[in-house]
């Protein structure tokens, strides 16, 4: 049935009337995602997308009118924390935040607030989620993926596409791919999503794509070691990055000794995870695994 995003997804697009919002809403709808409403404050009562999608002034109104259960955020960084609070307070269960550039202190407050709510946040600075052949909530290019049994969790954007492309070339399919975002403070991390894949009947194995900075991969390794029965293959970007340098992603900073590629790879290998040296090698590891072990 895939995780997070499926046929039951009823999606609100926050910021639908913007340039990006309109473009990606069309893409998502074309892919089969059920978009039920847009939210653009001050434009409530208008219609978009060939006059078929109603626009509301607030998420609460949109939820009340349409029974939406998920939302995707395309608003500017300045307004994005507000958009997350609004969606969570309106009872939206899954919020995917594409926006990048949210200050980290704002995200700390958002994150503390969400601990008191029953809302799962994916992102910010996330490319979104796709359950191939079923629905997509985000901006991941759909043409490079086919449906299959591999779950993917990734902190990166284009690196994820690279991986999806490599899988596709090898005729390997994906159950759900989740881009958790490259920022230092994000809503869902590996350990929030690994259990969902572990429980998902459609998923047989998981690919983790990580990068230097933070300790989320190390914590994931601990979780995998203790709880996961399905095989996990990983790739960690940044083996060749010098410590102390900021590599574009706010997340990709090596903090004195911790958060290095070496530390993450070590932790994952200790947990029985095969770690590839480049994206295409992930495919090799999977193919080797499925031929020798099955």
């Amino acid at each position: 049935m895939a995780i997070l995003v499926n046929k039951n997804t009823r999606l609100i697009v926050q910021g639908l009337t913007g340039h990006e919002g309109l473009f990606h809403a069309a893409q998502m709808q074309e892919y089969g995602t059920i978009i039920v409403a847009g939210v653009s404050p001050g434009k409530g009562g208008t219609w978009e997308m060939q006059g078929k999608i109603p626009i509301f002034d607030s998420v609460r109104m949109a939820v009340e009118a349409t029974g939406a259960n998920s939302s995707i955020i395309f608003v500017p960084a300045r307004a994005a924390p507000d958009a997350i609070y609004e969606a969570a307070e309106a009872g939206v269960k899954l919020v995917v935040c594409i926006t990048e550039g949210i200050p980290v202190l704002e995200m700390l407050r958002v994150s503390a607030f969400l601990k008191t709510k029953n809302t799962l946040l994916v992102g910010p600075n996330s490319p979104g989620i796709i359950s191939p052949g079923i629905a997509k909530v985000g901006i991941i290019p759909a043409q490079i993926i086919t449906r299959g049994s591999i779950g993917i969790i990734s902190r990166s954007g284009t690196l994820t596409y690279e991986m999806l492309n490599a899988l596709n070339s090898a005729l390997l399919g994906v159950s759900t791919c989740v881009g958790i975002g490259g920022d230092p403070i994000i809503g869902s991390t590996y350990i929030d999503l690994l259990p969902l894949f572990e429980d998902d009947a459609d998923t047989e194995m998981v690919i983790m794509i990580g990068e230097i900075g933070g300790s989320d991969e190390e914590r994931a390794a601990e979780y995998i070691s203790n709880k996961m029965t399905k095989p996990v293959v990983a790739f960690i970007a940044g083996r060749s990055s010098p410590p102390g340098k900021r590599m574009g992603h706010a997340g990709a900073i090596i903090e004195g000794g911790t958060g290095t590629a070496a530390s993450k790879i070590q932790a994952l290998e200790n947990a029985g995870v095969k770690v590839a040296r480049h994206p295409e090698e992930v495919v090799e590891l999977i193919l080797r695994g499925t031929t020798t072990e099955n």
Partner: protein, 384 residues
């Protein structure tokens, strides 16, 4: 964005954290004058945005104004880790009894600000964290409540601060917290926070790092950016919305996305090449940005070949291809360029490049191999 010591101390002072009397000097004569105003016994400190100033001779004590002038002249003539010293801070010398550490940063795992204190200040705190972690007291701060007095006292108790200093310590910690939040910092740090012989607390040195994402909200801080202290290519890159970091190798890289850029560098290294830079052109990069990126890469004389790896999502490969062609047309680079386009409009992009005598590749591995070969002198870039 990192602030200089003198900028950090200026902010400390505005938030009532006691700092030594002192002023910034651009010349030896100014330093001499300031030293004379401060009574002669001063410390001269190079203002550069790297660690290890002391070891490099960038921090010196002077006994009188003349000595201050002489030492300032020496320091103002130095380069520290490749950065020229343009300014020195001349501070009244303090009578130090104990050196402490007090700082706030972000705990990514707990998703909270974390306050840290140590009785072993004045040294590299990361080193203390690794060699003697028990010497660092940590308190997590609830971002919705902020620092509470009892937490400041826990830090004071944890570093065995004399009890008569707890009240002023709590005030300093509260000020530091206010600096952290009201400036959207990701790091604020007093190191060392000294207990002087006449029993007062004084911030002898300080670091503040501002969250780049929050700079638009703080124009006063954005103005403090010291362009002199940065690599010119990095400044140029920021102007175009690019992230460029200079490295030591010979293969110039241009990639969209930080993760993919790092993976590209990794794969170059895996094939025994050395990347000359990290360069992320970001999402939706247009022709102008691609042009700028290429110019910046070519400013580095060590570059022997260029690898362009674009995976189109929001970014359209045909647009990137047009940028590449326009840049080549402008700059007419003489070194080999290896291009790999994938994703959105990759075919259209490849078509645009096809008859231009450029080396292309289908996969990242293939592109990396070709770039390494080319850098090693195999001009057509074919893997050996």
């Amino acid at each position: 964005m990192k602030l200089h010591e003198y900028q950090a101390k200026h902010i400390f002072s505005r938030f009532d954290i006691p700092v030594p009397k002192g002023k910034i000097a651009n010349t030896a004569a100014e330093a001499r004058q300031i030293a004379s105003e401060l009574g002669g016994n001063v410390i001269i400190k190079a203002q550069v945005l790297v660690g290890g100033r002391g070891l490099a001779g960038g921090i010196r004590l002077a006994k009188n104004p003349n000595e201050a002038g002489t030492l300032a002249a020496t320091i103002l003539g130095m380069e520290i880790k490749g950065l020229p010293v343009h300014r020195v801070l001349v501070d009244e010398a303090a009578s130090i009894k104990e050196e402490l550490y007090l700082g706030i940063t972000i705990d990514r795992i707990e998703q909270c600000p974390i306050f840290m204190a140590s009785s072993t200040g004045g040294v590299n705190i990361e080193e203390v964290a690794q060699t003697a972690p028990q010497k660092i007291v940590k308190v997590l701060i609830n971002p919705l409540l902020g620092l509470r007095d009892y937490q400041a006292r826990e830090l004071a108790a944890g570093i065995d601060l004399p009890r008569d200093q707890w009240k002023i310590f709590t005030q300093i910690a509260t000020s530091l917290w206010n600096i952290f939040t009201s400036n959207d910092a990701t790091l604020v740090e007093i190191n060392p926070l000294v207990l002087t012989k006449d029993k007062t607390l004084l911030a002898l040195d300080g670091k503040i790092t501002i969250d780049d994402n929050a700079l638009p909200l703080h124009p006063d801080l954005a103005e403090m950016r010291d362009l002199d202290a940065e690599v010119p290519e990095e400044i140029e890159a920021r102007k175009y919305g690019l992230t460029y970091i200079k490295m030591d190798g010979s293969i110039g890289c241009m990639v969209n996305g930080a993760g993919l850029a790092m993976a590209t560098m990794d794969i170059i290294k895996l094939h025994y090449g050395e990347p000359a830079n990290f360069l992320d052109i970001g999402g939706g990069a247009n022709a102008d940005r691609v042009s700028a990126a290429m110019r910046i890469i070519l400013q580095d004389p060590s570059v022997k070949s260029i690898l362009i790896n674009i995976f189109g999502g929001i970014t359209r490969c045909d647009e990137v291809a047009r940028g590449i062609l326009s840049a080549i047309n402008d700059i007419k680079p003489s070194l080999p360029i290896i291009i790999r386009l994938a994703g959105t409009n990759a075919n259209e992009g490849m078509k645009l490049l096809a008859d231009k005598n450029l080396t292309t590749a289908d996969t990242l591995v293939e592109a990396a191999k070709k770039a390494v070969m080319a850098a090693h002198g195999d001009q057509d870039g074919d893997p050996g």
